[in-house]
């Protein structure tokens, strides 16, 4: 499989090239920062009318990961919706699509800073989720261990001669994993930026997403 194995607090995990995290033993798939409805929110606030295909593109990729893994549990690790109005304003077609994906699965919406409240969609809604030995929450907490979080949209770059390739990346150290953003219209924060360099341990590595995931020592 197009994936890179890693372990956290004794759990064996796979970082998928798509940016999802697969915990095979628990049949659990985790994705973070989907930002459904982002284009709509920008237009609503008087900004540009971006291509309104972001949600369906994110759903296309999520569907492919679900088809591949057939996960029994799905955790959306916060900022699943660009805001609560975006959750309410989701077109019927996309709402039904999510419902179809949820059928026969345990589905958990972990709350994020963009979507801090209940939403009118199926699935459980939680502030954070303990699934021993791992804790799933949106924003990493200092001193935590066995923690999977999102929020920062980390990206890492590797220099190839005169070029530099930059991609969304998992950041992994002995205590935590920070997930890349999975949503189509999401930018990235360079992992040598301040909150990430202080958060991650010295021996942290970055796993670049893409056709094949590649790991490097986290660039600082």
């Amino acid at each position: 499989m197009n994936a890179l194995p890693l372990s956290l607090a004794g759990a064996s995990l796979l970082a998928l090239g798509s940016g999802a995290l697969w915990w095979r033993d628990q049949s659990l798939l985790c994705v973070s920062d989907l930002h459904f409805g982002k284009a709509e929110r920008i237009a609503r606030r008087g900004g540009a009318t971006l291509p309104p295909y972001d949600t369906r593109d994110t759903l296309n990729r999520l569907s492919a990961d679900l088809l591949r893994t057939n996960a029994r549990t799905v955790i959306c690790l916060g900022d699943s919706f660009d805001d609560l109005d975006a959750a309410r304003g989701l077109p019927e077609e996309e709402r039904l699509w999510i419902t179809r994906l949820q059928a026969g699965r345990r589905w958990v919406w972990v709350e994020g800073n963009h979507d801090p409240g209940p939403i009118e969609l199926g699935g459980m809604h939680m502030a954070e989720l303990l699934h021993a030995p791992l804790t799933f929450r949106h924003i990493a907490r200092d001193g935590a261990s066995g923690e999977i979080s999102g929020h920062y949209h980390p990206k890492a770059s590797v220099r190839l001669g005169a070029r530099s390739i930059s991609r969304p990346a998992f950041l992994v150290d002995r205590n935590r994993i920070v997930m890349p953003a999975y949503g189509t219209f999401t930018g990235g924060l360079r992992c040598d930026a301040a909150p990430l360099t202080t958060l991650m341990h010295r021996d942290a590595r970055a796993i670049l997403t893409g056709t094949t995931p590649h790991q490097v020592p986290m660039p600082r």
Binding site: S12, A43, A48, P51, P52, Y53, V158, R159, G187, G188
Partner: protein, 807 residues
């Protein structure tokens, strides 16, 4: 012919001057709706443009704005202001002259809107902003004349398209408005006249005396020019000699990177300590202004520069222009030569310095073209629709509008005269709803149609965002460079974000002629120290590489057809003779393709002479075709003249590779994911208002909220490939960085007449290409493999691999 008012005639007399005939003719034609003046540098163009204004204001009262002057450069507007105020003060005329550019203070700008001066000097972007205000009719009330300076430079770019669209709006506000264009010598004045005049009005063209022919030659150097590259380091001693022999020398380069390297080398060899400065668009403004001021005071003996000094500011007593590297374009060369000797009726003196052997041939072709007065022009297509989209948004900022009226206005602009109503409606639809196949923004349209049929902004606050993003100049994302100090050190200039991303602390690079050491990135500023402990890397600046014009390329091919080349340096003529002996020389109307083994790889060299951008695109397309046919290409390199491809298997029959339909298909499918197409898309999407560079109250930075325009491109390609912006991107790819039109022209000229030679070794003409930098590895697979190797190496080196779990 009406006479000049006495006060002006007397002023000329007291200065000991007489008006030039073309200045008087411009005065006589003051009431023509549109007049274009073609005059060489130093021909008193500005005075010619302003004489009718001064005469009118000297003889009768006028309330409010009388004449609007537009120049492509802020600095030029300020310069003209100084030059105009002098006669006005000498004559004691009650004329208020002010400039309004991005540098004008907010207080001053507010005052200008409330109480406009008689003469306002501004830029296309500032004019577009003025036109976007709701009180535009009041600001421009009484406006009689508009003078567009350096119109030849504007006419070649989207800045010009934006300007002429703004003029169409002004013309509706001030129906009697007279338009005047001031141009340097150009190949096709009628084309510029069509842009200047309101369509279909006629436009008078006035030609000034072109002055004596320039004195241009190739610089003789003791050292031979190298086979490849563009540094011209071999010419440093000869150039220093010339600087010593002249008062002030301008040393032009085609790219900023080359200017930096040359300046560095010049400085190392400058044993006499001659005062020499450097000037280019990426240097900090205060640094540039210091160089400009020193130049005006006559303190500098030479300035190493780029196109930033192409346009008409009078920098004092330049008596020699040196062009480093082949000029690529005869028109620009002639304009540059004009910078030497600003005295009318004295020949300008210039020297060309070819940077390699191919450029020797190109320089000789350029000298012949200059002597023949044969300027090159690549005709521009119809007005680009991304600029039209921005204009529609600007119009909406000024208040509700009727679509029929706006279409009529737009169609009165020369560049948009052939725009169909359907094309216009597509642009309006894009501005209103985004124009997607999927109707998603019914509730959140940007523009809405009111019950009375007029269009207006849904949310009036949007106007601020639109105004903040006015303009068509494509700045690549750059980062400021500063010396590291406690409180932020001296700003040095800027480098491109892409180049900054390849720097690691300790790397050194050249900026403003000094070597600096990269220390780190702080708040989107590159911090450096003045420490030079290793060989500097050269900052790359994208989008500044010119391609050799069609005319020059054809002249080179014509030269190859001759038996001998007595006008060439011996070394270059010998090189061409040798090529003719072992292979062919490229010929017009045919395509020379050589295949030979070298260094264990099969090489194929295609002498397309289509300019570097097209030859680069051709390299991408041919290697894709070769991959499809199993020839295993590994990489290629392109110059203005040829593309060299290497791979595992030799090409036996090139004909199928040059099937135009297949090449075009390759452009559509494979180039769709190409970085050059994405950059083309980004430029258009930004101009059309889909991507906002500036947001109220925040500066876009590397925050996680922003995402790259590449994602927008990929999304449209996947879900809405016929979207307006994708159509525009495809149109744009015919010119500019992709330049597919020149590949089409090449295929059409050749008509399948391909001379394929299979040889046993590298040929004299192909050899320089082996030395060229900028080799492009082929395909995403190669990139993925390189990435895998590099990440594995980094990982193993760090010792982290011992921590990775076993699978």
């Amino acid at each position: 012919m009406a006479d000049l008012p006495d006060i002006l005639t007397n002023w000329f007399a007291t200065r000991g001057w007489a008006p030039h005939p073309h200045q008087l003719e411009m005065f006589a034609r003051a009431d023509d709706p549109a007049t274009l003046l073609i005059a060489p540098t130093g021909g008193g163009k500005t005075m010619a443009g302003f004489l009718p204004t001064l005469a009118d204001l000297a003889t009768r009262d006028h309330a409010g704005l009388h004449t609007l002057y537009i120049s492509p450069l802020k600095a030029l507007a300020a310069d003209i202001g100084r030059n105009l105020r002098r006669p006005v003060e000498d004559m004691g005329l009650p004329i208020r002259i002010e400039d309004r550019t991005g540098d004008t203070s907010a207080t001053q700008r507010r005052r200008q809107r409330a109480d406009p001066p008689h003469i306002l000097l501004t830029t296309p972007e500032s004019l577009a902003l003025l036109v976007s205000y709701e009180d535009a009719p009041r600001i421009f009330a009484g406006l009689k004349r508009v003078v567009i300076d350096e119109i030849h430079a504007l006419a070649e770019s989207k800045r010009g398209d934006q300007l002429f669209l703004a003029l169409s709006r002004l013309q509706s506000l001030c129906p009697g408005l007279a338009r005047v264009g001031l141009s340097a010598t150009v190949d096709d004045p009628a084309a510029i006249a069509r842009l200047l005049a309101r369509h279909p009005d006629p436009c008078t063209i006035v030609h000034a005396d072109p002055g004596p022919a320039p004195d241009v030659a190739m610089l003789n150097t003791d050292a031979l020019p190298p086979w490849a590259g563009g540094g011209a380091a071999h010419a440093i001693p000869a150039v220093l000699d010339q600087i010593r022999q002249h008062k002030t020398t301008l040393i032009f380069h085609n790219t900023r990177a080359q200017a930096e390297i040359f300046f560095h080398n010049l400085w190392l060899a400058n044993d006499d300590g001659l005062p020499i400065g450097i000037h280019h668009g990426s240097l900090d403004r205060t640094q540039r202004q210091r160089v400009e001021a020193a130049m005006v005071r006559g303190e500098l003996r030479a300035i190493v520069c780029t196109g930033s000094l192409d346009l008409g500011i009078d920098w004092g007593d330049v008596d020699l222009v040196i062009q480093i590297g082949a000029p690529k374009n005869v028109k620009r060369l002639v304009q540059r030569i004009g910078r030497a000797n600003h005295r009318y009726n004295a020949p300008s003196k210039a020297l060309l310095v070819p940077a390699n052997r191919f450029e020797v041939v190109e320089c000789i072709a350029a000298l012949q073209a200059v002597a023949a007065g044969d300027l090159d022009g690549e005709p521009r297509g119809p007005g680009p629709r991304d600029v039209l989209c921005q204009h529609i948004l600007i119009r909406a900022c000024a208040g509700p509008f009727d679509a029929d009226d706006l279409f009529a206005e737009v169609a009165s602009t020369g560049a948009y005269a052939t725009l169909s109503r359907a094309q216009f409606d597509d642009c309006l639809e894009f501005c209103a709803t985004g124009g997607y196949a999927l109707a998603a923004y019914d509730r959140w349209q940007r523009l809405v149609q009111r019950p009375d049929g007029l269009w207006q902004l849904r949310d009036p606050r949007t106007a601020q965002r639109i105004r903040m993003n006015i303009g068509t100049i494509q700045d690549t994302d750059t980062l400021k460079v500063r010396l590291r100090r406690n409180r932020g050190g001296k700003p040095l200039g800027e480098i491109e974000e892409g180049f900054a991303a390849t720097l690691t602390p300790g790397d050194t690079f050249l900026i403003g002629g000094q070597i600096v050491r990269y220390e780190g990135l702080r708040e989107m500023t590159v911090e450096v120290t003045r420490r030079a402990d290793k060989k500097p890397r050269i900052a790359t600046f994208m989008g500044t590489k010119f391609a050799t014009s069609t005319q020059l390329s054809e002249r080179m091919l014509d030269m190859f057809a001759r038996d001998d080349w007595p006008e060439m340096p011996r070394h270059t003529a010998d090189w061409l003779h040798l090529q003719r002996q072992v292979s062919h020389l490229p010929r017009r109307g045919r395509l020379l393709v050589e295949s030979f083994p070298h260094d264990g790889r099969a090489h194929t060299c295609v002498y397309g002479f289509a300019g570097r951008n097209a030859m680069q695109t051709l390299g991408l397309l041919l290697t894709k075709r070769m991959e499809d046919t199993g020839l295993h290409p590994l990489g290629f390199v392109a110059t203005d003249y040829a593309t060299l491809i290497w791979g595992l298997d030799p090409v036996t029959d090139p004909a199928p590779l040059f099937d135009l339909a297949a090449l075009r298909d390759g452009l559509d499918s494979w180039l769709a994911g190409n970085a050059v197409m994405k950059r083309t898309f980004r430029a258009s999407a930004t101009i059309a208002g889909l991507i906002e560079r500036n947001m109220p109250g925040q500066r876009k930075s590397g925050r996680q909220a922003t995402f790259s325009s590449d994602i927008l491109y990929d999304t449209l390609l996947k879900y809405d490939p016929d979207h307006l912006l994708m159509q525009i991107t495809r149109e744009e790819s015919r010119r500019g960085l992709v330049d597919f039109a020149r590949i089409e022209d090449m295929c059409a000229r050749v008509q399948g007449r391909i001379d394929h030679l299979r040889l046993d070794r590298v040929t004299p003409l192909a050899a320089p290409l082996l030395l060229e930098v900028g080799k492009v590895p082929v395909s995403g697979a190669a990139e993925e493999r390189l990435l895998a190797e590099e990440t594995a190496r980094l990982f193993a080196e760090s010792g982290l691999d011992s921590l990775a779990p076993a699978t």
